[in-house]
Symmetry: C2
Subunit: 242 residues, 2 copies
């Protein structure tokens, strides 16, 4: 199967959780909006898809994954779809739902990370909501970040199967997402993370193991990995990193 990923070409964003799964599995895929527009790809192709009134299953927003005639949207849904196909999810239904449940908690956390710089909503620039952002980020770094990371560390510790993965004895897509969370939080909140990391040794070790994996290491060293920047979810604004 050849997969097509439709996502904003200049940010990691939510699409990165999908890119990591595709890259780890060496899946055959095109990152459509990052290709030259001249070849029927690029942003025009993504905007055409978003505006296509013939689509029976219109997506609300990117990322969108195309597999043949099927379009799947919503990051956690895409990963659920890909998990079985790419060998990145357990086979038993109860375990598959457990990994999906964890991914949905990742999604909740990602919203809260995003809202540190956009507490008043997505329609205003950061510069228009800096005062509110400071208050929200203070609560985030003091309360919410420790709560979420502490939860994920507990999940790791409770996993009865050795190997240091979130669920069962093999790597699943949620392990790749944990890597991305730690990497992103280190970029956005370096001071906060410096204090926090000694409380989450399992997650830090998992991050390192994922980063050192052959396919992910090659991806991270490639131009396919978009650098963190101040357009995505994880943004480094020193004033928000108390």
């Amino acid at each position: 199967v050849h997969y097509k990923l439709y996502y904003w070409p200049s940010i990691q964003g939510r699409g990165e959780f999908v890119r990591l799964a595709l890259e780890h599995a060496l899946a055959d895929y095109t990152d459509v909006a990052r290709m030259p527009a001249a070849r029927g790809s690029g942003m025009p192709a993504m905007l055409r898809l978003l505006g296509d009134s013939r689509l029976k299953h219109p997506p609300f927003a990117p990322p969108i994954l195309q597999a043949g005639k099927q379009y799947v949207a919503q990051t956690a849904n895409i990963l659920y779809f890909l998990g079985g196909r790419l060998g990145l999810a357990p086979r038993a239904e109860a375990e598959r739902l457990w990994v999906h449940q964890l991914q949905l908690s990742v999604a909740d956390f990602v919203v809260e990370v995003h809202d540190t710089h956009h507490p008043l909503g997505p329609s205003m620039y950061y510069e228009e909501q800096k005062v509110a952002a400071r208050r929200r980020a203070a609560d985030f770094t003091r309360n919410r970040l420790p709560k979420f990371l502490g939860y994920f560390e507990t999940v790791l510790a409770r996993n009865g199967v050795r190997g240091g993965y979130m669920a069962g004895g093999r790597l699943s897509y949620v392990d790749l997402s944990m890597f991305q969370l730690i990497a992103g939080l280190r970029y956005a909140f370096p001071k906060t993370m410096k204090r926090r990391e000694r409380h989450i040794p399992g997650l830090v070790a998992l991050h390192d193991r994922v980063a050192a994996g052959r396919n992910i290491a090659a991806y991270l060293a490639s131009e396919r990995r978009i650098p963190f920047n101040e357009e995505g979810i994880f943004r480094h604004y020193p004033e928000l990193d108390a």
Copy 2:
């Protein structure tokens, strides 16, 4: 199967999306935290579950559904789990993922509804963030609410199968969630909704049809349906309803 739902007993909240599915299907279930504490139920039972260090799959937060020895958390994940079992989801995998995708967009919308009264995060009371709430709510009622409801109306219109449901020709759990969204938004933002409803005739008709269904009508008329209030997701603060 006897299901146990663990959720806050004094609010509809996210648990209501699960309650509606259980009620529509006349499922055999206990709303644990709403039962008397004396009989091993009530809030003590829910707090015991949340603090149970032997749980291999600890949930991040309620709602949590117990089916035998299996615990499933995250609202959309619970509905995905229940959908097939209660006849509230299509059988084909692509259609099941489509309904789940819609439910995840419902979940995104619910976060934005909640954040109108808590833009600075869940750790502060509404009264401590009223100024920021006004700004966020203004953007919500002007931009986000029309965008989300317009999207769901488009989904209804694109459904090739007659019947007025969101997906395919039979009621699924996402139809029940649409009822809850419309009902909640009418409670929280009556002025905004009065202007908006003529743009979403399909959703309004779907709301009415769900409300008139025998099992849901009986539920809504019962004491099991907790009234909307200012502790849940949909809160009526007149100053936020521009």
